[in-house]
Symmetry: C2
Subunit: 219 residues, 2 copies
């Protein structure tokens, strides 16, 4: 496609407005007409930049993950201790999503929509990102009986990503302070030797709990 | 409403099937017709149990939060050290959502749908639940300069709840082992004295990063 003057800025504006509309209404409920109204483009003007709503969602997801993965690559390439690089990564992630909270909601809620090449390309970026964090945690892991690295990595992402459900700018710490808090909780525990499985008062709690299997068992 | 014979079991079946349909298609995309097909009830048969799709979502959310809050209440009432009670709470939460993963997705993705009395009642249950966990962490908090209790509580919920995006029964630890892993990572860090904000190699990282403000700045 030959690029019109101002192509990049216009595409950027469209993606930003589309992300807001998707975050507010959900992907399926949002129409191209809603996005046209929000972005101030005619429908035909919009379709110059993408061919379908799915491509639009793909462009948003790819832009987010490309940005965050590029930052992660440049952080891990630095000649710094693994722990410092992990801290920088957590800050980078939290800063990014604190300033792009609507995009974070779209990435979480619309994670299963993309299929085919779109889905593959975004999945590859996500895998690379998770791989970078997993690699750092592997380097840091002090004890072979310590925390499971996969659980720890995804636990750390959970701690960070869940933020879009609760974070309030008027009462919660800013990005770097939030990163310090989370790293503190996460990293000291992660570095803390073998997993303790003995704190319970008796062993009975480890048995399958007959009341647990499903919420849908009649009471 | 006078109850038909088998009312509770039938309602339970409807709520379970409706949760599956909501998890698969999303609330807005799911129709009562889809739920009727999944549950094996006629449309008029279904409407004996609820008046609207929103009521159905409310009944699912209320059932989940009531169950988990009741378990939490009985755990914190036990005469056990705070740390043991926290461990039991984490196990209870993970067991519950590992066996009700589709419901977990519905609770997360459709958290903003309920309004009015429905929304208020569910919000009150959530507040109570978060309050129970916050209370335990307040009791455990070892250092006034330690981790922010609100951030830690919501970080712990994030660690646990994000699971619905990644957990795979065939490769990941079962509920109690997962709980031990997460508690290990979380609790040792939480208990570990003042938050360390000094690990960075220089102070420059604490400055606002001009490249951070928004993903939508042109590159």
């Amino acid at each position: 496609m030959e690029e019109r003057p101002g192509y990049d800025e216009k595409l950027t504006r469209i993606l930003k407005e589309a992300a807001s509309v998707f975050a507010a209404k959900g992907y399926h409920q949002a129409s191209i007409r809603d996005i046209s109204a929000a972005a101030g483009f005619s429908l035909s003007g919009l379709y110059y930049y993408f061919d379908s709503k799915e491509e639009l969602l793909f462009l948003i997801q790819r832009r987010c993950f490309q940005t965050i993965v590029e930052r992660a690559r440049s952080i891990v390439a630095q000649d710094l201790p693994s722990e410092t690089r992990l801290r920088l990564l957590v800050r980078s992630h939290l800063r990014f999503f604190l300033t792009n909270m609507r995009e974070m909601k779209v990435l979480s809620h619309e994670a299963d929509i993309l299929t085919g090449d779109y889905g593959d390309e975004v999945a590859a970026l996500k895998r690379e990102y998770v791989g970078i964090v997993t690699g750092l945690l592997e380097e840091l892991r002090p004890d072979p009986d310590g925390a499971d690295v996969r659980v720890a990595t995804l636990g750390l992402f959970g701690m960070m990503n869940w933020m879009y459900t609760w974070y309030r700018r008027d009462r919660d710490p800013d990005g770097d302070e939030l990163a310090d808090q989370m790293i503190h909780v996460f990293l000291n525990g992660f570095l803390d030797g073998p997993v303790d499985r003995t704190l319970l008062v008796d062993g009975s709690d480890r048995q399958p709990d007959p009341s647990a299997p499903s919420i849908w068992q009649s009471p």
